[in-house]
Amino acid sequence: MWKYIVKRLLWMIPVLLGIAIVIFTIMYFCPGDPAASILGNSATPAAIEEKRIEMGLNRPYMVRLLDYLNQVFLHFDLGTSYFQNQSVMSGILYRLPYTFMIAIICMLLQILIGTPLGITAAVHQNGIADRICMVIALAGVSIPGFWLAMMLVLLFAVRLGWLPPYGVGGLQYFILPCIANAFAGIASQARQTRSSMLEVIRSDYIVTARAKGLSEREILYKHALPNALIPIITVVGNGMGMMLGGTVVIESVFSIPGIGMYTTSAINNRDYPVVMGGVLFLGALFSLIMLLVDVIYAYVDPRIKAQYEGQQKSWKRRKRANG
């Protein structure tokens, strides 16, 4: 297992290198330049050109790319923001807790609400409960997130005054953004849980379990759910990965200083170091989460674990067991 994890961690290096090259290239070809952005609207072209030279933006593509890769991968330095005089890393680390908080709460909501909904729907397939759960789920994936967010603000913050409409602070500040953000996640979780539960419920081993005399509850939680978990975990992992970078809109509605906003406004400002650093960081985080998901797979499904551990080891194991 450890060998597998180390191997996967090593694989991350070329992936991150690739991300760096891709995003650098996209930003390189982006029209507009940070020099103009820094100097503001009324800057003359001559002043902009001078600033470009000072910032090294006039150097050729390859030189800048290699310089950047050298800086990031050999000196572990994501650089300094053009605008904030602050290292990109500390900028990211500062904002990470907010984004992470939202992602974690959303993930919990997604698991705690979406999974039971999906199970209920699957158990009562085609019944009323199924219909209700699926209508909720379909609505969830169909409603634009920011629309829901603003409706929630109008209701809970403005009309009822129960919750703060924006900003960061205590836990209560995270309630509305998380609900708005988690709705789609809950919905897709419920759908995925339902369909994988349906598939599992029809499996032979569920019949075997039933033939043993186990109660439906035991069958559901001891036999069906563990088997249905793999696709469910995939959805959770993907959702988590997406939420880390994809909460831009929610962050914007609720004025939350998260990584999404940080990176998006940097794209608008052409603050290259921040864009590249942010995307790289999120990419690394995403890769780590995917690794975690795969490790959880192995924990949940011994077949996958055996696959990771490779032929040789499992052969040894069998030999030991037999002998």
């Binding site: 029809r202 499996s203 032979d204 081993y205 019949v207 075997t208 379990a209 039933r210 033939a211 043993k212 005399g213 186990l214 109660s215 001891k222 036999h223 563990p226 088997n227 949940v300 499904d301 011994p302 077949r303 055996a306 499992s314 194991r317 069998r318 067991a321 037999n322």
Partner: protein, 333 residues
């Protein structure tokens, strides 16, 4: 076909259908049979004839919907299983009646240790501690020829034959009174088939378990069964003791089954398969269900509802013309 005393298990007029895409599929039609303690009954027939449905009806583990038991009674030592409450039924499953499934590859939960899967039933029915259940499960494993040290292994670490042994150990773990064996060897390699069958036979003797053996393999029937019920299109078309069926098959379908069995004594005679295809269970032909494929069928066969006719002893047959068949047989021999 009953003896004087109450049979150990008795199935009466069982009728089951499935609903699929709006069509009603008649899987089991008025099936009746009974079984004495310690005996083995073979249910023989083609795939889709309704054998498995009968077995699952006895355990009441049919998926409902789409399946529905329309009518009938199933008595286990005098109590109608179909009328029991679900939690009463649960006490019977695994403890009094256990089942061995056709495909060992899918019958085991892939993410649960095999020992645990056996111990689970033991702990449930025998009210013993987890530790004791584990001990017993290990004993069961060893009984089917798997070292107890493999208790903590997962199904994917076993071969097909080994898995089926686990399934058998699981089924027998609570010493059930009735074992439903649903084609226990079909999915296995030929060499393993015999081993597994031996295990079942030996254990059955040891535990004095009654058994319903579902199979399409007449060889197995000859080897393990006391009585045989031939099933066609959800009906029992012929019933009798092993000897009666093997020595004197009277239903054209049964005869056909034997005809398609290669005769190792004569290398001249070719296989004579049953012509045609099994009927569409959603749209059964009127009269005798076998009539479209029957070489001896006439117009009356297609119009008359055929009853199961007692012949002698336990032997009975669902054919209008069994007498003619018997006569023909007598003449040829």
């Amino acid at each position: 076909m009953g003896k004087s005393e109450v049979p150990f298990i008795e199935v009466k007029n069982l009728k089951v259908h499935y609903t699929s895409e709006g069509r009603k599929i008649h899987a089991v039609n008025q099936v009746s049979f009974s079984l004495q303690k310690g005996e083995t009954l073979g249910l023989v027939g083609e795939t889709g004839a309704g054998k498995t449905t009968i077995a699952k009806s006895i355990l009441r583990i049919l998926p409902e919907p789409p399946a529905r038991i329309e009518d009938g009674e199933i008595f286990l030592e005098g109590t109608d299983l179909l009328k029991l409450a679900e939690d009463e039924m649960r006490k019977i499953r695994g403890r009094k009646i256990a089942m061995i499934f056709q495909d060992p590859m899918t019958a085991l939960n892939p993410v649960m240790r095999v020992g645990k899967q056996i111990a689970e039933g033991i702990a449930l029915h025998e009210k013993v501690s987890a530790r004791e259940a584990e001990e017993k499960a290990k004993k069961m494993l060893e009984m089917v020829g798997i070292p107890g040290s493999r208790y903590r292994d997962y199904p994917h670490q076993f071969s097909g034959g080994m898995k089926q042994r686990v399934v058998i150990a699981m089924a027998l773990s609570c010493s059930p009174d009735l074992l439903l064996a649903d084609e226990p060897t079909t999915a296995l390699d030929v060499t393993i088939q015999a081993q597994v069958l031996d295990i079942i036979k030996n254990l059955q003797k040891e535990f004095k378990t009654s058994m319903i053996m579902i199979t399409h393999d007449l060889g197995i029937v000859a080897e393990v069964c006391d009585n045989v019920a031939v099933i066609y299109a959800g009906q029992v078309v012929e019933y009798g003791s092993r000897e009666e069926i093997f020595d004197n098959p009277l239903h054209p379908y049964t005869i056909g089954l034997f005809g398609s069995l290669p005769d190792i004594n004569s290398d001249v005679e070719r296989l004579s398969p049953i012509m045609g295809m099994p009927p569409d269970p959603a749209n059964l032909p009127g009269g005798c269900a076998f009539s479209p494929r029957c070489p001896y069928a006439d117009e009356t066969c297609k119009n008359t509802d055929v009853k199961l006719d007692a012949i002698d002893g336990t032997h009975s047959c669902r054919c209008l013309h069994w007498r003619r068949t018997a006569q023909m047989k007598a003449e040829t021999s």
